[in-house]
């Protein structure tokens, strides 16, 4: 009987995040976790379950119901040496912390002449999939890509989630860490304790020759499913997972488009002034001569998101829509 290699360990996205938090809190006692329902409850999406028991109330802090305070307090703690990870239950509630995040955290380092830093992570989750309605489903990453001083990441796989979370915690700038409610149960290969993913680096999740599909967060899996279908039709699609929203890794995108000559950007956020517009504009400015077809965006129409799950599914681009758009692009 021959020895067999153990299959790679798989974990869910949720477990990978928990591992990342656990390892960073083990390694550095400046790392603290704060938010609503993060302690005893273990997080609204169960990411922080078990951390209170391990690290105690001093470091896993259940907070009063004030999002502004959660992020403001994290900033205050960060400014004097802590490395807080603040959780805001839904991306939609960042509207309540805009001053603390946009005017305060993002500008602290500059406005204090480099004397202070804000090494903090704000974890949020966004997206559709649970019929959570207009105020619990929005994808708002583009807002924060527009704020100098903030870093924004939106990983799609368990390994990237863990690796980027560890990098975000170690980063000296404020990082908005965007999870997706549709990803928590998704399984993928586990990453070891030394694994990190640098902020600002996109990843080619599938190589291809005929067109480049750029996506991030949950939409990467839609793009990959579409690429699989396209392969059956003889169309070879390359899927670039941005992973980081800001700073945007246009080098990876442009290198891919340089090879394929066609670009399709797919996002869950509504179309107008979404991140797709920025990627399209950058590509047009820098790669005009190499494009064999106009850049194409696929996004949710500019509507207010519904609670109805059937409507949700219809509105947000699915694999069929990506396949159809890719087909058009390749044939044009």
């Amino acid at each position: 009987m021959s020895a067999t290699l153990a299959p790679p360990r798989t974990v869910t996205y949720r477990e990978a995040l928990r591992e990342g938090l656990f390892e960073e809190m083990e390694a550095d006692d400046r790392v603290i976790l704060l938010g609503e329902d993060v302690g005893r409850y273990g997080g609204a999406y169960a990411v922080s379950r078990g951390l209170l028991e391990r690290f105690g109330e001093h470091r896993v802090i259940d907070m009063p119901m004030s999002e502004a305070l959660i992020v403001g307090a994290a900033l205050g703690a960060a400014a004097v040496g802590a490395r807080p990870v603040a959780e805001i239950m839904y991306m939609d509630f960042v509207t309540l912390v805009m001053d603390q995040l946009v005017n305060q955290a993002a500008k602290l380092h500059y406005m204090f002449g480099g004397q202070l830093t804000a090494p903090m992570v704000v974890r949020v989750q966004q997206g559709i999939g649970r019929g959570a309605g207009s105020q619990h489903s929005q994808s708002l990453e583009a807002w924060f890509a527009h704020v100098p001083g903030l870093k924004v990441v939106a990983p799609s796989t368990p390994a990237d989630a863990k690796g980027l979370l560890k990098s975000a915690i170690r980063d000296d700038d404020p990082v908005l860490f965007i999870e997706h409610k549709g990803l928590y149960a998704r399984k993928g290969e586990a990453a070891g304790p030394t694994h990190t993913v640098p902020i600002g680096l996109a990843d080619v999740k599938r190589s291809g020759e005929d067109l480049t599909i750029v996506a991030w967060s949950n939409m990467v899996h839609t793009a990959l499913a579409a690429a699989e279908e396209l392969a059956r039709e003889g169309v070879s699609a390359e899927v670039v997972d941005l992973r980081t929203i800001a700073p945007l890794d246009m080098a990876t995108v442009l290198a891919s488009v340089g090879r394929t000559g066609r670009l399709l950007i797919v996002h869950e956020a509504v179309r107008t002034a979404g991140l797709g517009a920025e990627i399209a504009a950058e590509t047009a400015e820098r790669h005009h001569g190499q494009l064999r077809a106009p850049v194409r965006r696929l996004a949710t129409p500019d509507v207010v998101l519904p609670a109805n799950t059937t409507l949700e599914r219809e509105l947000v681009p699915d694999a069929d829509a990506v396949v159809a758009a890719a087909r058009d692009l390749v044939r044009s």
Binding site: D37, G42, D62, P64, S66, P301, V304, P306, A307, T310
Partner: protein, 374 residues
């Protein structure tokens, strides 16, 4: 009424306005009296039972996959029926997403609440008709709307005229967790300095999902009002008579032009925060057992029975009505059609923009491309 009497606690215990004990005995309070007859109490009993049945049926529908989510009011029926029945027709109420009992009092068909939680519409009742605002989801935001509304009716001359059919007040519902939000505190400031006719009705149900009241406040919530410059009262939130009497007094005060008041209805969330929550993970069952003894319906039943006000036929009649209501809600829920996908474009703007019209056409074409595909 004397509001100053309600500020301080006697013997270090916060005073609790109670007019009907958990055992069903009527008691007197120096500042607040229940001024209706036993017929009204029978009506309250019916309201309480039917409201609880709406809640029960909706919870069951959610568990069977027919609703996306449901926010249960179990345990808070008295706070909602008592305060809801204290409203005059011209008063305007701003709810959270849990005020199914207040909706009932305002004549909103519970089926419309079901439609909202089923995700087929946005509630659909006309707030101008019922004077019951549409549900507000983001915690505490509605306190600002209510304060603005109150400032509006004040400027419209609908306050302090002495005409009981004209003078109006606003009531806004929120929970203990919301009191930590900036919005709520800002609304307190504005309501106070403008002497706005608004009653802040806080249902302190002891839990903000998993965060206990101790995580929101070191002092009884009603005492916060004093710091903002208006009176606060803590009422037994499981006592429908006391909730009615206190809210009525607070509303009357507001209508007369004497400004805002904070009513803290001390109650308990007997169920989960919503159907997405599992409270056994963070609170002890003993606490639930303790509060079961203070059930808002049982005490009314005890009062009615003990004093021979009703016979078994009355209870059977209410039960039959509840069964009928539940059956109607269930059938109505199951027959609700999914909305047309293109309807999502209808209310983004009052008048659809050319850009959005184009997107609608593109989307219609995209949907049509699947016709006959499967």
């Amino acid at each position: 009424m004397s509001v100053t009497a309600s500020f301080g606690g006697r013997e270090g215990r916060p005073p609790l306005v109670q007019l009907l004990t958990p055992e069903g005995e009527r008691v007197e309070h120096p500042d607040f009296a229940f001024d209706l007859d036993d017929e009204a109490i029978k009506g309250f009993y019916r309201d309480l039972v039917l409201t609880r049945r709406v809640d029960f049926e909706a919870t069951a529908l959610q568990r069977q996959g027919e609703l996306g989510i449901w926010a249960s009011l179990l345990g808070q029926e008295a706070a909602q029926i008592g305060s809801g029945r204290a409203l005059s027709a011209q008063d305007y109420a701003f709810p959270t997403y849990r005020e199914h009992g207040v909706a009932w009092c305002r004549g909103v068909d519970p089926l419309q609440l079901i439609g909202l939680f089923r995700g087929v519409d946005q509630g659909g009742w006309d707030p101008r008709e019922s004077n019951f605002h549409l549900y507000t989801i983001v915690i505490g935001a509605q306190t600002l709307h209510a304060t603005g509304y109150a400032m509006g009716i004040q400027r419209d001359g609908l306050v302090g005229t002495g005409d009981p059919r004209r003078d109006a007040a606003t009531i806004v519902y929120f929970g203990d967790g919301a009191t930590s939000q900036g919005d709520v505190n800002e609304s307190f400031v504005f309501a106070s300095v403008y002497n706005a006719p608004v009653v802040f009705f806080c249902q302190n149900n002891q839990w903000a999902i998993s965060e206990p009241i101790e995580r929101q406040s070191r002092i009884p919530l009603y005492q916060r009002a004093l710091g903002f410059g208006f009176p606060g009262v803590r009422v037994d939130g499981n006592d429908v008579l006391a909730c009615y009497a206190v809210t009525k007094a607070a509303l009357q005060r507001a209508r007369e032009g004497s400004g805002p008041m904070l009513v803290e209805a001390f109650t308990y969330r007997m169920g989960a925060h919503t159907t997405s929550d599992d409270p056994t993970r963070y609170r002890l069952s003993e606490e639930l057992e303790h509060w079961k003894l203070k059930d808002p319906i049982e005490r009314v039943k005890a009062y009615l029975s003990r004093n021979g006000i009703v016979d078994a036929g009355f209870y059977a009649g209410v039960e039959a009505e509840a069964d009928e209501l539940a059956a109607r809600l269930r059938a109505g829920c199951l027959s609700m059609p999914d909305p047309d996908p293109l309807s999502i474009f209808d209310h983004v703007y009052v008048e659809t923009t050319p850009q959005l019209r184009q997107q609608r056409e593109d989307f219609a074409g995209y949907l049509a491309s699947f016709e006959g595909a499967h």
